[in-house]
Symmetry: C2
Subunit: 129 residues, 2 copies
DNA sequence: CAATATTTGCAAGTCATTTGCAAATAAAAG
DNA sequence: CTTTTATTTGCAAATGACTTGCAAATATTG
C-alpha cells in the first residue's frame, strides 16, 4: 500500500458521509495529484475496500460519492438538496427483495443503488417550511 | 408546444426502456440540435412529462436516462452490464417505505432512485454462466 | 542492494452536458 | 391575419468530472 492509498482510505474511514472524489482531492491538497485520487478510488472499489454511487445535485453537479467498506454493512442515504449533506438511512434493507427479483427474472444482480433526495429537517425549519 | 418538443416526447412515449439524451439526439438526427434535445428534456422533466435517473455503464459511460411519464406510474429498472438493455421491475414499490423514512427523520423526500445492475438471463446463457 | 513491477505527477485528452448570442418560431395582442 | 412580445433554436464555444500517455519515482521481489 502506497502512502497516497493509505491517506485516501483513512480519509474515507474518518468521514461519516459519502464523499466525492473532488472533495477528497481538495482535502488531500498537495499530498497527491487528483489523478491519483481517481485512480486509487477505483483501486479501492475494485478491491472491496470502498463503495460508491453517482448522484446529481444542483450545487456540485453529477459526481460519484465514495464510502469505506470497513463497517462492511452496505448503507443507503438521503441527500439534502439545500445543505447538501447526507443522512444515513441505515444498513441495507434490500437483500431479500433483490433475491426475489433475481428469481423472478432469472438475472444476476451485481449491484443495487438506492437513495433519496429532498430537504432535511433543519433546512425545512430555516426556510420556514 | 414546438415541433422539437413534440418529437422528443413522442419518442419517449414510443420507447419501452429509459433512453439517454445522446441516444435520443442520435435518433432525432437532423430533426433538431442536440442542445435542443437537452434543453427540452429538462423542460419535459420540469413539467412532469418525463422522469430520469443517472446510471453509469461500461459501454456508454455516465448518462442520464429518460422515460415519459404518461403511464403515470413510476417504474424501476434492472440494467444488464453485458447487453446494456433495461428490464422493467414494475411499478414503484417504495411509496410506503419512503413515507416511513420521512416520518422517522422529519425530512421531506422529493425523489427517490432505485435500480439494479447485473447480467440478464440471455447474456448469462450466451456467456455460459 | 539490484531487478522488476506498480504507482505517481503532469499535461493533454474525452465526453456528456451547458451556455451565450443572434436568428427563427410560437404565442399574445390588436 | 399582421404586429408585438416572449420563447425556442442552432451553432460554436465553454464547463467540469474524469481518464490517459508517458517518463520519473516508489514499492515489491529475489
Amino acid at each position: 500500500m502506497t502512502k497516497a492509498r493509505k491517506a485516501i482510505l483513512k480519509t474515507l474511514e474518518n468521514v461519516e458521509e459519502p464523499i466525492s472524489a473532488s472533495e477528497l482531492a481538495k482535502r488531500l491538497g498537495d499530498f497527491c495529484d487528483p489523478a491519483t485520487v481517481y485512480r486509487n478510488l477505483h483501486y479501492l472499489e475494485k478491491n472491496n475496500l470502498a463503495t460508491s454511487f453517482i448522484l446529481h445535485c444542483s450545487e456540485h453537479g453529477t459526481e460519484r460519492y465514495y464510502s469505506s467498506k470497513e463497517g462492511n454493512e452496505h448503507h443507503h442515504w438521503f441527500h439534502c438538496e439545500q445543505c447538501h449533506r447526507f443522512i444515513d438511512l441505515g444498513g441495507c434493507f434490500y437483500a431479500e427483495q433483490v433475491r426475489q427479483f433475481e428469481e423472478k427474472h432469472a438475472f444476476t444482480v451485481h449491484d443495487h443503488t438506492f437513495y433519496l433526495t429532498g430537504i432535511c429537517q433543519r433546512c425545512k425549519q430555516k426556510l420556514g417550511l
